[in-house]
Subunit: 340 residues, 2 copies
């Protein structure tokens, strides 16, 4: 071999690209959704991903537009017998009353301190918001995150005796991972507090803080002890629930997502907004019909109604009309939790 080779940058790049393509073909194709039984729900997800990511598909979606949104409570993790954030806020009330003893005689704090769980379930929404507001107001963002992390590491769910962050649905984690490996950005769009969820979203779901859309409290900016700080104020800025979900999505993302996952009436408008766009869209709703492994509630399946995240007959009818897929926890999921 006597010829002189001049290795150009272009030739090297072409060779490298060809080798990488070859590697990709050698890679084994594993089932991306191993915790899902074969059926309409699993198939809807796989078909949606194929047709929106295959460049030859008429329904191809460019990577920049690949956005999927997930409700949290009842969709990604457990919401019974009460929202995790409410459990957190109730636990926090004791600390807050220690600092402001006058609150002990005022409702709704009086009811909370009584320990009467039945009475607590009857607390009205505006009073719940008062509890949530009090549980974080006056704390800087960083301190609030620490408080939430400490709570998440120690609080136990009454049924399972495990931390709430272990009560996450493995099949949904698989969907998030599958979508991300296909170029989708996965956002959480929750009625829960944005900062509450941010405190653990990256560790639990692999979702970074900029992809958490939630109910927002006002924040005060000030220099304290020479340091710039952001402190939670005891006032709501924005409620990210029901009709607020499309608004929150527009505010934080500025594009209409291609896919949305929910489980209750508070997600209906998000699913309408997402699946109302052109091209391939995916709308899915988790039905809690698995009393053995989790909980069973929702009149749509002849199950008892619930004041927490109920799947009503009206939502079921709307799902049929709109082409949304209902996920049966009982029959679509091989397992629910990682410890199953």
């Amino acid at each position: 071999m006597n010829a002189n080779f001049r290795v150009t940058r272009r030739a090297l790049l072409a060779l490298a690209a060809a080798l990488l393509a070859a590697c990709a073909q050698i890679a084994p194709v594993a089932d991306p959704l191993p915790s899902w039984n074969e059926g309409a729900a699993k198939s809807a997800i796989v078909q949606f991903v194929r047709k929106t990511t295959d460049a030859a598909s008429p329904q191809f979606v460019p990577p920049a537009q690949r956005v999927a949104t997930f409700d949290q409570d009842g969709t990604l993790w457990i919401e019974q017998p009460m929202y995790a954030q409410l459990a957190f806020a109730l636990d926090r009330v004791k600390d807050v009353v220690k600092a402001q003893p006058s609150l002990a005689g005022e409702e709704p704090f009086k009811t909370v301190l009584s320990g009467d769980r039945a009475a607590m379930t009857r607390i009205k929404t505006e009073d719940l918001l008062k509890i949530v507001a009090v549980s974080q107001s006056g704390l800087t963002i960083e301190t609030f995150h620490e408080v939430v992390k400490n709570w998440a590491a120690t609080a136990k769910h009454p049924k399972y005796g495990r931390p709430y962050t272990e009560l996450v649905y493995v099949p949904m984690l698989e969907v998030m991972k599958y979508l991300r490996s296909n170029g989708y950005r996965t956002y959480i769009v929750t009625g829960g507090g944005q900062e509450f969820v941010r405190a653990f979203a990256e560790a639990v779901y692999g979702v970074p803080p900029e992809q958490v859309v939630g109910t927002m409290f006002k924040l005060d900016y000030a220099i304290r002890d020479g340091k710039p700080t952001l402190t939670n104020a005891p006032a709501l800025l924005f409620v990210d629930d029901s009709g607020g979900k499309p608004v929150g999505i527009n505010m934080m993302i500025g594009r209409r997502p291609q896919a949305a996952f929910g489980n209750s009436g508070g997600d209906q408008q998000m699913l309408e907004w997402v699946t109302g766009g052109t091209g391939a869209r995916l709308g899915m709703l988790v039905l809690h019909d698995d009393a053995q492994r989790e909980f069973a509630y929702g009149p749509a399946a002849g199950l008892p109604a619930s004041h927490v995240g109920s799947f009503t007959q009206a939502l079921y009818d709307d799902a049929k009309k709109q082409g949304w897929t209902v996920i049966s926890m009982k029959s679509d999921w091989k397992r629910v939790f990682a410890f199953d």
Copy 2:
């Protein structure tokens, strides 16, 4: 050569990676900031990028945390003699009054319709917000974007006779591109309307909608003619200026950026918040001291004060104290606009 080769996937990947690394070394190193004169400002940017992206640097910043925020008016594009969004809103008032003739007799619309530019510059902030609100309320997000795009394509700046979207600072576009090519996400954080800026941010700055933080109006979600719609309501949700900038950054990004660029008192809190973090931080302020190529204003440089984005002596003193770099448009920039 008689040996049998078994090409494993691992070996191919290693070879491909080695080739790509070789290609990267062969690539010529071009000046990433060709429109900048050599000096303290250019050097501050280059040094910041080097020390935060070199894995061996003690100030290395992991890619997920690489965020830089840019004010728009006066930092990325022209803000004199009036904010572009105000020029847009004033132009829109005529259309709005056509639809609602009763407004013609009411202030501030009466002043706007008089065409008296001097009187217009005296309109108070709350009245300006009224004009801005009226210029977009009742329109769906999609229609509002169309209206803004049409305006941007036709409206001309009074001094240059060119569209506002051509009055963008080339040196700042270079900084954004340079940061992005080093793994930074570049956000616009503007006192201007979030949807106003989104209408052109991707085309003009390469900034996608989810990276535009701005003043937000309330939105109404509803099904109209069978279609889910988001419509601008005539009420403010959030003002992204001064102390609102750190709040808007937290809301939309949920992390403290590593670098921030501004030009006026409305950016001071953003720079405080950003440079108040640990590790390598970059705070920069554009000083408009170039009457020939652009405008000259700002008491800090002995220039006239301006009611639009002024660089005060107090801001200048704060910049010195905080270690922020002042960019002199006149001496740091080889050229200002693409048409120079």
